[in-house]
Each structure stands twice: as structure tokens, then as C-alpha cells.
Symmetry: C2
Subunit: 364 residues, 2 copies
Amino acid sequence: MNSHNYCIIMAGGIGSRFWPASTEKKPKQFLEILPGHKTMLRVTYERFMDIVPAENILVVTQERYADMVMESIPELPTKNLLLEPYGRNTAPCMAYATYKLLKRDPEAVMIMTPADHIIADTEVFNATVKQALDYARGHEALITLGILPDHPDTHFGYIQATGGAIDMDKAEPLKVKTFTEKPSEELAEVFIQSGEFLWNSGIFIWRADVIKPEMEKLMPVITNLFVGWEGAIDTIMERDFLQKAYAESLKTSIDYAVMEKTGKAWVIPAKFEWHDVGTWSSLYAYTDKKDAKGNAVIADKCLIGESDEDFIYSTEKGKLIVVKGLKDYLVINTDKVLMICPRDEENTKGVITQIALPGYEEFR
Amino acid sequence: MNSHNYCIIMAGGIGSRFWPASTEKKPKQFLEILPGHKTMLRVTYERFMDIVPAENILVVTQERYADMVMESIPELPTKNLLLEPYGRNTAPCMAYATYKLLKRDPEAVMIMTPADHIIADTEVFNATVKQALDYARGHEALITLGILPDHPDTHFGYIQATGGAIDMDKAEPLKVKTFTEKPSEELAEVFIQSGEFLWNSGIFIWRADVIKPEMEKLMPVITNLFVGWEGAIDTIMERDFLQKAYAESLKTSIDYAVMEKTGKAWVIPAKFEWHDVGTWSSLYAYTDKKDAKGNAVIADKCLIGESDEDFIYSTEKGKLIVVKGLKDYLVINTDKVLMICPRDEENTKGVITQIALPGYEEFR
């Protein structure tokens, strides 16, 4: 494995679409909801151990989640835990990680990945990422892995490649023509028909010394906050510096701030099975632990009858969940909240806002 | 109030159709589920305080529920708490209460009542019970209060009176022709059309010295167990005696053992509004604490949206219940069990038996 290859796992999100299982105190990436009682963060970490040296895997998260990261990855060296004072979306996070990495290794090639993806075909995934790392090393390319859409999903960003319909068998890096955030279903349908579009996986690969000037050109409002901080990196001054920078930073995504505007965006068509486990609905679609009637159950004790395609999730120890005659529902039960709603609810926490009366702030 | 009038409240049932809120450890009559956070037992007790002297109200229950009775009715004299070693349905309970009362007062006229009825028209109720007490005092009559059916309910017993269609305005005591336990819907429909039938309320009124020989004639297998125990009543020997008698007793109801067979059954047509709160469904029908969409909520904190006619009941302190897009469901949540099922489920505990795998005995 090339010692200049790095993986940065972004694990600072609060997973509000997974409420009430995921809360600001313990977001979804730290929940043991995957087979083998593993956290999403742990599974992500193990995935990249095949691709980059273990000592080159870094995790960026919010300060308050530091302990939970170390619970998931006890072997993570402290210096590889990058702590943001608070969440400001992916653009400031990218700037922080890039500056830090560049100081440690000017030849760094970086993978930036979310912590909530499920990827089934490990070999194809590994080969694709390695191809991207190699391409990025030799080119001034900001690469995204693009997933072949199999339905007109309206929750993903779409990337249009140059050169007409994409040849998935070749799977060669393609220059990006356009980025489109979450289109309407009609538009998504047109995209798919054209054969020129891929889903934006949110997994980025690039050289640190290529993304740095591009960030400074396209999002100076954020990178200016980091001016003069090279001296503070990896010293006791780092924390104070970040506090100030983050306090003044915008909340914005790297997609919006850089990828949609840069002339250096590339996409590599990827053929592995990929799930963005961003919602209960997507976790349900992914999980293979369903009974004959399509019910997925993650609970100590559950009895379910005359019910189809429900997703039951309970973290209360020893509690018996009994469900009868329910179809296509989510039942999420924690010590503090019980939520019952249709399974396709996209934003479970948002439900509170839809129906709450004053006095429910504490649960938001 | 006549000092020879007594009321015996039967509060020994385990309320399995109200599971999981009602458990063998704390059956429904001890739950504070009625308006004003009163228990069903308390409401029953207060109802009869208008009719018989307070010191003439007795409660029969199982030994293990003694503390819960005293919590509901702290003013109950200890000697008025009749403790059965365990539940054996109403026939042994009647024998126990009758023998005890006769020893204390040979002229006793008794009301025997369940603890889980809701009665709306207090004045009509009081007048009807007083009429029954007066009639019982002067006649060898075993009287049941009969409710005018307003729909062909299949969960009640039906009583046919002699003399053809019943004149509700007269509301005079009528000799009983037949008792029919829980008929089919077709049969119930025929009963109602005939105008000769009333629902069996399970509230009985009779003289102690009239029911005694009738029990001894019609259910000697049970009354024989009490032979020789007059000397033990209200002494320290009582408990040991009951232990032996109950250990050998059949489990059977007074309806089956006496009322269906006696030639002395009478019914008084009653015009008060009456609910047998035997199931969640019936409690839902009764409760007036519904929102505009017909949802009834008994819970610390609950948000409910896009939902109709649900019954939400939670005893977990401080827990937020969020329900969206659910119609006609029961959501019952306790520390140990969460149950979600259609609201018309007649026997919630039975659901476990329908869908349980081995290992769920503890929750039955």
C-alpha cells in the first residue's frame, strides 16, 4: 500500500433523519445497527484498512463525539482524530483536514468519505478506489465516485459526465459536465434515460496539493479563516485556533462550494453495490435481516404477526415489542422516545416540527 | 340508608384483555386510567357510597392485591377486605362473601358488583339499585340488572325476560326465562329484534339467606368446601381454611353455576348508560378525552399527527410518544412491553399466544 495514500472519514454529522435512535448526543454513525453489532463508523474504518495503511486513516468529528469514535476504533492513534469545535457541514471540514494532511505529507493523496455508506462488493470497491488514487496521483483531478442509478431517486445529487452515454464496462475517469442537486422525479427520469448521469456518492479522491488551491480560489471565505494556522497545526495552539475559525465559518458543503464550480471535477463510474444509509428507509432497503414477510427487527425481544415490511428498532434493554396488523411502518423505540410513522418517512425528526406544540423543544 | 344493605365489590380479576397495561402484578382495576387519575376500583367504591353505608362496602380480591386495594380505598376497614388465596372466578367468591356476611348480619341484602364498570347516569343508577334492594328484601328473588342493548354485541350475556317485549318505561322486575352466554352476531340480532332480551350487567342483588340455599342446591361441589367453616369466619383460622377450600375449588362463574339454573332469577330493566370496560376498545368508546380526530391519549408526552381514532396509552415516565399516519390502532407502552395492534383487538394478551415463539412465557 502506498504510504502517501490517506483516508479521511467524516463522522461529525448528527443523523437527524435517523431520529429518535440517532440523537445529537449519539448520532447514527456510533450506533451498533449493522450486522455483527458494528457501528457504521467501524464498518467504514475496516473497509479502508484494505486500501490505505491503517496509520493513514483519519477521522474528523465534532469534539463532543471524540469518546464515541474511540469506542468504535480503539486502535485509532490520537493524532489521527481530528476534532471540530462543532459541525459546519463538509467544506470547513475539508479545509481543516487538507491543511493538516499537507503539513504532515506534502505528497498526500486523500480519500474523503462519509461514515454512513454500505458497500457490498468489496473487491470491486477496492479496485475502483485504487484506480481513483492512481489517477489522482498523476492528474490535477478532483474525483468523485459515481454510482450507476437503477431508479430515479430524488435524494441524491446527479453528475453528468462529458462524452455522451457512459460505458460502464470501460469505467474510465470522465470529465464532469454538470452537478445537479436532488432533482425532481421527472428530471431524474430524463437523466437516467440519457445514460450520461451517475449518482454522486460523496466519496472524493484527490491530491491534497490540488484541492488546496482550488478551495482557496472557490471558497476563500472559509479558507481565509485558516490563514496563518499552519504553525498551530499539531500543537497545543490548534484547538484555540479552530475554535475561532469555526465560530466564524459558514455552514456549507464541499459539493456546493467546490465541486459544482471547479473545472477540475472528474467522475469514475463505479459498479459496486452502494447504499447511502441516510434514512430508515434506506437502512431497511439494505438490511438482509428480514423475515419471510419483509419485517426487519433490531430489538431485544420482538413478536410480530400479521404484519408486513415493518422496521422495528428498539434499544430499551429487555423490552418486549409486540406488533400485530401493521404494514409498512417504522417503530423506533429508545429510552426517551417512541416513534411510530410510515416507513418511507424521510425525516423522522422533522415530524416533530410538523406536529409539535410548544414545549417539545427538548426533543427536537 | 338501610343498615342491612351491603355492597360487595369483586376486584380479583387479572384483566388480561387489558394487557400489557394490566398485568397479573397490577390488574386494570388498580390502574389510574379514569378521569381524575382514579382507579376503576375507587370509582366503583365511590359510586356505592351513595347507596349503602360506607361501613357496609366490602371488597373481595386476591391476597396479592390487598395492598393495591388499600391504596385505592385507604378508608376501607380491614375487616371489609376479603382476601381469596387465589382467583377462582365468581362462584367461590360469592360463596365466601355470602357465608361471611350471613354470620355478621343474617338480614343482609347484598349487591355483588364487578370493579370495572363505567356508569354515567348516577341518579338513574342509584334509583334502579335501590328498587332492586327493596324488591330483593321482600322476595325470594336473585336479581340481575339488565341493560337495554343498543347493538348486537357478542361479548355480553343476554337475559330473556318472561312476558314478551320489555316495557322499559315500567322498568319493573321481570322473571327471567333464559340466560344465553355470548351469542353469535346473527343470534344477538334476533334477540334485539324480539325486544325480550337485556344484556347481563353482572351486577347482582339478593338476600344473603336466599342465595345461600340456592348455591348449596346448585353448586354443592363448591359450597361443600365451606362446610364447617362458620366457626373460622373472622378468626385467625379463616385464612388456613380458605387456603384449603380454594385449593380444591373449581373455577366457575356464578352465572353458569347458579343464575342459568335457578328458578328464582329476576331481571330489572335498567336505563342508565353503562359500559363494561373489559377491553381497550370499550375504554376507548367510553373515554371523553379525545382530540378532534378521535385520538385518545393517556401519556406523559405525546405528539400525534395525520392520525385518526388511535388509543395511545403509556406509563413510562417522561417518555415522548410520536405517532404519525396511524389509524384505528392501539399503542400501549409500559416499562416492560410495547404493544401496537388494531384498536378492535379484543384480547391483547392473547396476541402473544397467537404469534409467540418459545421463550416468551415471562410476558404471558
